[in-house]
Structure formats: C-alpha cells, structure tokens
C-alpha cells in the first residue's frame, strides 16, 4: 500500500496534517510562483512589443542576424528535455527508481547542452560585434533599433539561461535524492514541482524562439 511506504519514508512537516496536504501545498505553491514568473518575463516581452512596433524594419534586420541554426537545434534540445522530464514524473508516480534517476540525469544533460550551445551562440555574436554596451558596431540606418533588439535579446535569453541553470541544479539534486530512494508513489511532490518549473522554463523559450529567430525571416 502506498500509504505505508509514505509513513515509513518521512512524516509530513509539522504545519501539515498529512503528506497529502503537504503535496497539495507544494503544488499550489509552484503554480503561484510560476504566475509571478510570467509577470517577470512579461516586462521584457512588453518592451519587445513596444520597440518591435516602433521599429519594424530595424527589428526585422536584427532578427536576420540571429543564429537560427543554433536556435532551432536548441529548441529541439529543450523540447526533448521536457519529454524526459515528463517521463521522470511518470516514473516517480510508478515508483520506478532507476528509471526516474536516469531520466532526471538525461534532463539535466539536455539542459546543459542547451546552455553550452547558447554560450557558443553568444561567443559568435560577440565576434560579430553584436553585444550592446560591451562591443556593438553595426552599419545600418537602423543601428539604434538593432542595438535595442540585441539588448532585449541578451536580457531575455540571459534571464532564461539563469532560470535554466537553476533548473539544472535542482534536477541534479532531485536525481541524487531519487538515487537514494527518497521518493515513492505516495511521496514525490518535489519531482512534480521540479517538473512544473522545468516545463515553464521551456515554455518561455517557446515564446522567445519566434520573437528572436523567426522575426524578419518570415512574412
């Protein structure tokens, strides 16, 4: 019986009546946190929308300078990591410890691959003098707008990368805990919460990808 496993594993924290209540609280807590994150990214997306409207030509020209091959590969990497993460949550629900650990490690590895590719992309942009404030030079009548685009690009992808890095660390911690048998079908809300956070970070990328790479290339 799952309940027996749970009571053997760990009692709920003192403020909760049961483990069930504790998991419910964790779940509503992460959803509330993700709501704040939407607003956090929302400020930058608003700025993007305002300047995209003000400087359509400059933003289109800037969009064509982005590295669409790396960006597209990264999108696939990140989407795959969401699949492995979702699998990890299922494995936790089914109490399959080794599969859970493996999938968590795979998720973290895909996340690391994304960050690595992102770093490669940044270094190429640095070589092409596309980093506002540090090294920016672009011969175009729309240079100011292009600089604004790249400023927002670095802010948005930078904040996203910070989120992803935090996610990788949390997923690795979960992998270690899973390996030690900390989770059971009755108690695995940390894995679920991590999964929700991971999917959110992916979802942010799904919004960033067309804004950054497809703008100016289509339509």
């Amino acid at each position: 019986m799952p309940d027996v496993v749970a009571s053997a594993a760990a009692p709920p924290e003192p403020q909760f009546a049961s483990l069930r209540q504790q998991s419910e609280v964790a779940s509503i807590g992460i959803w509330a946190f993700l709501a704040t994150e939407v607003l956090f990214f929302g400020g930058m997306l608003l700025a993007y929308a305002v300047f995209r409207k003000a400087y359509p030509l400059g933003f289109a020209e800037a969009g064509r300078e982005t590295k669409i091959v790396i960006g597209t590969i990264n999108t696939m990497v990140l989407l795959t990591s969401s699949v492995t993460m979702a699998g990890a949550v299922y494995a936790a629900e089914g109490g399959r410890r080794r599969l859970l650990t493996l999938l968590l490690i795979l998720t973290a590895a895909l996340g690391l691959a994304f960050v690595g590719l992102k770093g490669l992309e940044y270094s190429k942009e640095y070589e092409e003098h596309l980093v506002p404030g540090i090294d920016f030079a672009f011969a175009s009548p729309h240079a100011n707008a292009i600089q604004l685009f790249f400023f927002l690009y670095f802010m948005m992808t930078g904040v996203h990368a910070v989120h992803l890095t935090i996610g990788i660390i949390v997923v690795l911690v979960m992998a270690v805990r899973a390996g030690r048998g900390a989770f059971s079908p009755a108690y695995h809300s940390p894995v679920e919460v991590t999964g929700l956070y991971w999917h959110f970070v992916d979802l942010v990328w799904i919004f960033l990808y067309p804004l950054i790479y497809l703008n100016g290339r289509v339509g």
Binding site: P14, T36, G43, A47, F51, P132, F151
Partner: protein, 548 residues
C-alpha cells in the same frame, strides 16, 4: 491591592514565564534560524522599525530645512539625496512590508487555526532577502546617496544622476523577491491551511485584505524587479532602452514602473483597512456591518488597482483617450473604498463604543484615510491634476493615505495585538496620549501642504518663494509634534515588556481564534487544531469587564 501584591512572593527581575514561543530558546541562533512565523514576525518588526526611524530622520531634516524659504540648512544636492532616501526607505523598507510581514506574519496562522505558514523556511528566507536588500540600499545611502527621487525616472537615473543608483536598485530588486515570496506564502497558507470549519466567509476581514495584498505583491512586484534590472543594466552599460537619445522610450519606464508602483499603494493601504476592520467591531462590540461587501471591496480594490497606473502620467505625454480611461478607472477605485468607510461607520452606529488606544488609532485612520481618499478624487480629475501635478497637493494626498492611513493603521494593529505578541499590557494613558498626538501632529504637518500645493508650491525644491513660508512653518511645527509622538511608543511599549501587567489570553474580549490561545502563544499556536463553527465578529453590544 498594592499591599496584597507586595505580600506575594514576586520575582520582579525574572518572573517565571509560561511556556511560549518566546521561551523556546534564548540564543541568537534560536532567533536567526527560527522557522516559527511568530519569531520571524519579530525579526521583521525589529528591521522595519529601524528603517522607519532612518526614513523618519530624513523627513525631519527635510521639514527643518523648509522652515527657511532660502533653504540654508543643507545644500540643494544634499536636499535631493535626503528626499530620495526618505522615499526609497519608507516605501520599500517600511510601508510595503509593514503590516503584512509583522502583524500578518504573526496572526495569519493563528487566525486560521494553523500551526505555521505553509512554507516556514521560505518565510525565513524572505526575511534574509529583505535584510540583504535593506543593507545594500542603506549602503548606497551612507556611501553618498542618490538624487533620483524614489521613482528613478529615466533618463535622469540612467544617464545624468550621479550617485549610487545601481546599488540602490539592486537593494530594491533583492527586497522585491522578499515581497513576492511573502505574498506567495500567505496565499498558499490561506488557501490550504485553514482549520476545519474555517470557510472563506468565516475568515476575519484582515485575512481577506492580506490575501488581496498578496495577489498584488505576487503579480506586480516581478514587473518592478525586471524594470529596475533593465534600468540598472542601462546605467551600467549605456544601452538605451529607456534613453530617447538611443532610440529608447522613457515613457515605457514610467508605464512599467507605475504598473507596479500604483498597485503598490494598495499593497500599503489594504492591510491597514484589514486591521481597522478587526478593531472597529471589537471596540464597538458589534458584528461588522456588511461583511461580504467589505471583503469583496478588498478584492475589487486589488483588481481595479492594476488598471489605474496611467493616472501618474497625465502630463507625461499620454494620449487624451488613455488619460480619460485611466481617470475613469481611478474614480472606480473610490467605490469599494467608500463601501469600506460607510461600513465601518455603520458598524459604529448603535455600538457600545470604548476608546482604548487601538480604537483611537482606528478612528483616526477613518478620518485621515477619508481625507486622503477624497483628495485622490481631485487628482484623478484630469483638469485639476494638470494644476496639481508635482505640487505639494500630491504630497499631502499621498501622505494622508500612506502616513495618516497606513502608519496609523499599523500603530492601531500594533497596539491591538501587542498584548497577544508580548503577553503584556502597555500603559493605556500613554498610548491614548500618543494616538491623539499623532493625529494632531499629522494634520498640522500635512493639511497646510494641501493649501501650499493648491497655491502652486512645487515639490522636491530645496528653496521656495517667501510667500509660502507661513504654511511651511505650520507644517514643520506639525512634523516636530509628529516626530515626538512617533518616538513615544518606544518608551511605553518598551516599558510594558518589563513592567507591564500580564495581559491574559484575551484582554479586549475579542472574538477570533488568535485570542483563544495563551498570550504570548506557545510555539505550536494551538495545543490541538481548533474546529470553527461560527463566523467572525460575534460581538454583543454590552460592556466587557476589563481583563476578562
């Protein structure tokens, strides 16, 4: 009585304390690593009190300076740094956290019959974030300060201001996450940790107010955080997202800033309304009038509050159509606010009213908040606002809501729950005296500023034409009274900690679960989880024996 008391074998220096959260460990570590919401509330109380007196000291110097039209006390540059310091510290390090993190933290779990907040460690983390942010900002102030005003308008703050802008922005950014996490913790706690039988409509109004406040904390603060981050990066790297010279848009900054900072005004006032809604029924011995109207008024203020930020930008270059819409929506906020004022008044009607210190503060709140709210309608009116923008009229309006409203409500709540928090009663005579002095001093300080603003005296100037001097002297005289009145509680509340009479569990004869535990409460709040069978405020209009 005195003779009998002397015969008792008293231990005046170290009386035997009953088991409580205060006796659960005496080391510094037991405080700094505590997960107990009550102790964290005390940590917050100590920190925001320090910030209150720092911000207050800056205000005192400002008022002293303005006695003289030529402004000879401090230099113009120092004056700019003083009002910036006053604003930044008072808004982010006193008013925003004031009631939620201290009184809210302390009483939320007790009011709903829980043992703690949903995330006790997160609660402690929030305090550390707050202190880190506070110290960073304090460093910026002590290392020379900044002269941007608390609003950090671009491009001045990013391109021209010389001062420690980036460190101050970083401090507010970090403290912002403390706000976000506190709001999140409160929301989850209220949703999931209510005792059996504690339905939404059986919750005290204070919880509804804090719930509404938490929604704003969670949804508005992230926007401030990212705005300040963009501002800091722009200042550091000279890229122009808000700088028109580089294609950026300074109005975008104002939109983003006020998208947070106007709802922030409701972060500051909603908890105050909640406190007053607890105190009025208790000292009028009557159930609150129109409970559902009051709680939904809180929620609607939170919701409409998100849609009025543009009224800060009437003269900033917003289109006439936008200005009209924002003006109309600003008027809409007056409706739920007025519902509250009318319902408090109706609660008083026919009650058995007594005038203990919390009640004096609460009544003061109603008067001052109403004045502040009504003048808010003046500045929401487009035609009048063009005349009043950036004058002392706006300063007076804002301070009537924030100081007359929020600070008064904070003191009301502090006096109301002080016996619960410390287990001791303070001197009623001194507390009532301070309450009256604060009301008098406050009005003398800020009412003349309405007149000054109407006459056209602009804000933020270190010198002014001599014809404004008489009103300024009145205002500064009021400020000195106010300063003294705000210091008084340190003495009589401090005295009560050591010499105050034992309060007993329920000195006010109040309803509410928090009054059913001993004072001070035990660490786990309730020996066993209570079951709730009635709504709040089941008062009968009849006299209560003192110290029942």
């Amino acid at each position: 009585m005195t003779a009998a008391a002397e015969l008792l074998p008293g231990l005046p220096s170290r009386p035997i304390e009953p088991e409580s959260y205060l006796s659960d460990g005496f080391t510094l570590r037991s405080w700094l690593l505590t997960h107990d919401h009550k102790r964290i509330a005390i940590l917050y109380f100590a920190s925001i009190s320090a910030f209150f007196f720092i911000g207050g000291a800056a205000a005192t110097v400002i008022r002293l300076h303005l006695i003289d039209p030529a402004g000879s006390l401090v230099s113009a540059d120092t004056y700019n740094r003083l009002f910036t310091m006053h604003g930044v510290i008072m808004v982010w390090f006193f008013l925003i956290p004031s009631i939620p993190t201290t009184l809210g933290n302390f009483v939320i779990p007790m009011m709903i019959g829980a043992h703690d907040l949903a995330f006790p460690r997160l609660n402690l983390t929030s305090w550390y974030l707050f202190v880190t942010g506070g110290l960073l900002t304090l460093y910026a102030v002590l290392a020379g300060g900044l002269d941007t005003g608390w609003t950090f308008y671009t491009p001045f703050s990013t391109a021209y201001s010389n001062g420690h802008v980036v460190i101050a922005l970083l401090g507010i950014f970090v403290a912002g996450f403390s706000s976000i996490l506190t709001g999140l913790n409160f929301i989850v706690t209220i949703h999931r940790l209510r005792a059996p039988g504690m339905t939404w409509y059986r919750m005290p109004v204070f919880l509804w107010s804090l719930y509404s406040t938490s929604v704003i904390l969670m949804l508005a603060t992230p926007v401030l955080a990212i705005t300040l981050a963009l501002t800091a990066v722009e200042r550091l790297l000279h890229v122009g997202i808000f700088d028109p010279a580089l294609g950026g848009d300074p109005l975008l900054f104002q939109h983003l800033f006020w998208f947070y900072s106007h709802p922030a005004v409701y972060i500051m006032i909603l908890p105050g309304m909640g406190v007053v809604s607890e105190i009025i029924p208790c000292f009028a011995r009557k159930p609150i009038f129109g409970y559902r109207f009051i709680v939904w008024a809180s929620v609607s203020i939170a919701v409409i509050g998100f849609l009025v930020w543009g009224h800060h930008m009437f003269v900033a270059g917003e289109s006439v159509f936008s200005a009209l819409v924002f003006s109309l929506l600003s008027f809409a906020v007056a409706v739920p606010s007025a519902i509250k004022v009318f319902n408090w008044t109706a609660t008083l009607h026919g009650g058995w009213i007594t005038f203990e210190a919390p009640m004096l503060y609460a009544l003061g709140f109603i008067g001052l908040f109403t004045t502040g709210g009504l003048t808010g309608l003046f500045v929401a009116t487009l035609a009048f606002d063009v005349h009043a923008t950036d004058t002392y009229f706006v300063i007076a309006h804002f301070h009537y809501i924030m100081v007359g409203g929020m600070v008064t409500a904070y003191f009301a709540g502090l006096h109301y729950w002080w016996p619960k928090i410390t287990g001791r009663l303070y001197s009623e005579w001194w507390a009532q005296g301070a309450a009256i002095l604060i009301f008098f001093g406050f009005n003398l300080t800020f009412f003349p500023q309405f007149i000054l603003g109407y006459l056209g005296m602009p804000r933020r100037y270190h010198a002014y034409p001599p014809e404004f001097q008489a009103w300024n002297i009145l205002s500064s005289a009021g400020a000195s009274i106010l300063a003294v009145a705000y210091v008084l509680p340190i003495f009589y509340l401090g005295w009560s900690l050591f010499r105050g009479e034992r309060a007993g569990p329920n000195p006010w004869g109040a309803t509410g679960l928090e009054w059913q535990t001993p004072s001070p409460p035990p660490t786990e709040n309730f020996a066993e989880t209570p079951t709730v069978r009635r709504g709040p405020y089941q008062y009968e209009p009849e006299p209560v024996p003192q110290n029942a």
